[in-house]
Amino acid sequence: MVVHSSEPVSIGHLLQREQMLAAISQRIRRSLDLDEVLNTSVKEVRQLLQTDRVLLYQFTPDNWSGTIAVESVSNETLTILGRNIQDECFQTDHAHLYQSGRIRSIDDIQAANIAPCHRDLLASLQVQANLVVPVLHHDTLWGLLIAHHCQAPRVWQSQEIELLSQISTVIAIAIQQASLYDRLQTELAERTAISTALQISRERLQALVSNAPIALIATNAEGIITLASGTILQRLGHRSEDRSRHDLGHDSEQFSADWVGCSAFDAYAHIPDFVEDLRRVLAGSLLDSLPDSLPDSLPDSSPDSSLMSVVEYEGYIFEVRYSPQINGAGAAEGVICVATDVTEQRRAEEALRQSEILRQSEVKNRVLLKAIPDAIFRIHRDGTCLDFKPSKAEASETPIIRLNQPISEVLPPPIAEQLMMHLNQSLATSQPQVFDYQLQQGKAIDYEARVVMNGPDEVLVIVRDISERKKVERLKNEFVSTVSHELRTPLTSIRGSLGLIRGGVAGDLSSEAQELIEIAYKNSERLIVLINDILDIEKIESGKMSFVLKPVELMPLVEQAIAANRSYAEQFNVSFTLVNTLPKVKVNVDSQRFIQVLTNLLSNAAKFSPPNETVTIGVTQHDRLIRISVHDRGAGIPEEFRDRIFQKFAQADSSDARQKGGTGLGLSIAKAITERLEGQLGFETEINRGTTFYCDLPEWVSVGDREIISSSEAQSPARTTLQTAQILVCEDEPDIALLLKRMLQQAGFRVDVAHTAEAAKQLLAHQTYQVMTLDLALPGQDGISLLRELRLQEQTRLLPVVIVSAKAQQGRTEFGEAGFAIVDWLDKPIDQDRLIDVCRRAVLSSRNSKLKVLHIEDNTDVVRVVKLVLKQDAEIHQAVNLQEARQKLKAHNFDLIILDMGLPDGSGLDLLPLFNHETGSLLPVVIFSARDVNAETAQRVTTALLKSRTSNQELLDTIRSLVSYVD
């Protein structure tokens, strides 16, 4: 039974339908919420059709099953929203029909001609009549808009069918719109995500560029900078004028603006390598392979080392990587350069390499050191051994010295003393000092010690066993001596006989015999000279020729030499004429050796003069230089011979030696001697006109009362003498402090007392002390802790410290090895002599220089001798009379006085009261006089020495003992 909608379609109804359609359309256009649109639409359609169910069935893609996506049902009707429909009967042909726009209306399910399975499905959904309209989306069947009438069959009006069809079109639009919107939303979301990721990546890059030690420089194809960024731009030479306004370490963008737009070739002209590489990369070339200096690891770390280079600028090293921006045509549109500051890395690598080299060289040095046969010691200024390497021979024996052991404990006192003297000398002058000594080790062994400064407070002492050398030297000396003796003995007879015959002792001779005797005599003479010359050369070369230098008047020596050679010259019919003289001028020479030089020049001149010629001798002065010239009118010296004229056995023509009777050694000896006299030997010569040989010597100036004997005086720095030495006594017990003070004052020291460690530190901060005595048991901070503190401070690091304590022995055991550089440990009760002695030595070693001695003596020669004797130990000032002595004593502090009694303006003894120093101490006074002193005088001075009876060694020993170089 089919129920027909009874009422015809009224105008009102039509209007209502139009309105609804418009409302739905509008809603769809306005709203983007598809669910709402669809729900509202199905609801309104159901109301309008006054039916039981309106739904939207959506197909599952690729499969004709589907889901009830939207539904509107009446109260009595079963809801099937969300149900998945597996309609086996819905065949593909149906789908095709729907797809082509078919609308299917069934007024009565039971009566309709449909598949039973379909009917069953519809029945299960309570459907009696249905109207199905396809929803096509992009010509694809999206789904179906279906109206179900469930209460009874229903005849669908064409208007109703039309309406549903129109609605389906509108829904399709809504779906399309929604899908578009969705897509837009997705795209939008994707875009946002991309943009966010991009932003993050940008920020990361920026952070990287800002914080990493890199610079990013981009240019276009023309090399114009398009970007310059990074923390190290500055190091590449970027400067920002308004940089001061930014904090250091601030973002580097401030630099980038500066150069953007400039040509990189101009901007980086200060880094030519970079500009060059940039040009090549922009031109499409590869870069050279990396320089050799690069560590091997680097090329590996770079993906393409041919686009990487290393440039340097102002001490920074940059690794620059180039990424050319290639366009489609394969040309570079620009390049991005990333410069990394690898300075630190390179330095570290370099340091590593250096340390490796150092280590290898250290190993080599160790091996070398071991191979050295000598013993080597590192000795501290205070005389303790810091390190040592035994000699090869001793390597297996027990060590000769322990670390930190004073050398005085292992060497005999005189040798230890000698070593300390050279040590001080070496530290004071930074010149290596060499001395020989002998030790009795079962047998006598000779050693040579070489003392070389090795830092401000230590020396290296290289000790070599030279016994063998000494033995060879002795043998050689004996041999030379013996040979010369053995040669001379027969010569004595030959020359003697010839001399006697020649002198007519054996009666008159025929002229032929006379001539033959002359030849024999002349050659025996020559042999004698040759032997003497060979001995001289040997001495000069072994440095054993001794000189006794004395200031002497020059002219008498010249005249003596001329006289001695006159008869020799007569053989050649040559005469000597002295043309210029300088009476009174003095030179400081060994007279005998100097005459030897003149003799050589005169005899040469005579030999090489033509007969009946005159040799002219002149003495002239140029400033402080005295020239003795000997001019002959001989043939002159051939050009080719001039260079080697002073060489041994040098003669212009080898036949000369025989013709002229020379040995070829004379000039070589003369030159060596002249140089030892601090002079120069030279010549001027003209072929066929003659030759002038000259000997230049410095004039010896009697400096009289202004004389400063020591030539090093001028450079010697201000010093502390014993008399001005300040000693700090750190002692809490007032009585002992006072006792120490008195003892030290008596010895001439200036003394301050500190009763506590605190007070000592204050005094040390404001005053320089040469020595400190220290009690170990102090109230509050104890002595050792104070010492430890002082040793850490630069100012007092090396301060000589003498421990004076009842616990000295204990302290020595406890701290003796602790390396505090303690000068000595004195027990209480105090041994005054030892205290003073230790302090004196400490002062001497701390100031590390020579004694200052005033020698009051009018005879300058005596002063010179004393100066020579004491040159290692003392710096000698001369005063020639009482008046000058008084002045000098006022102006300087001396450590010791050497006094002559007979002075031009009175007796030296008159000065004795002056030597009472204001501190109450007595300056040591040594009388060194030709006259003996009487007992009374002897009591008033420290020592008296008689000039004629005192050897140099005695004088030296006396002076040394007085100033406590020696224990």
Binding site: S481, T492, G496
Partner: protein, 129 residues
């Protein structure tokens, strides 16, 4: 006033040199001399000969010059007699050594026989001058 120099004791082991020195001292120098060929002979001769001066060689077999000098100094009345060494060993240190021993001077060999006497007289003058 300088004492006169007449008698010289010449101590020398080399016979040739003995002959030459004899001519130089006697024929040229007009001295009276006694020649000994060894140190020990000199020590024996010195007391009887009573020389004014001794001219002493250094290198001699048996007792050498310096030893002879030391021995001479121990003899009565001979401690002050001037002794001149005449030797070929005249290196500086050797000369210094002879003087330390008490020699008044040293004459080097080979010597000039024509001037030997003058040299000795000059030394004599210096010793007593």
């Amino acid at each position: 006033m300088t004492p006169a120099l007449h008698r010289i004791l010449f101590v020398e082991d080399d016979l040739d040199i003995q002959s030459i020195a004899k001519l130089a001292l006697v024929a040229v120098g007009k001295f009276s001399i006694e020649i000994c060929s060894s140190g020990s002979a000199a020590l024996e001769a010195v007391a009887s000969y009573e020389p004014d001066l001794i001219l002493l060689d250094v290198m001699m077999p048996g007792m050498d010059g310096p030893t002879t000098l030391k021995a001479l100094r121990l003899l009565p009345n001979l401690a002050q007699i001037p002794v001149i060494f005449m030797t070929a060993k005249v290196q500086t240190h050797e000369v210094a050594h002879y003087k330390e021993l008490g020699a008044v001077d040293v004459i080097a060999k080979p010597f000039d026989p024509m001037t030997l006497a003058i040299t000795i007289r000059t030394i004599w003058q210096q010793v007593y001058g």
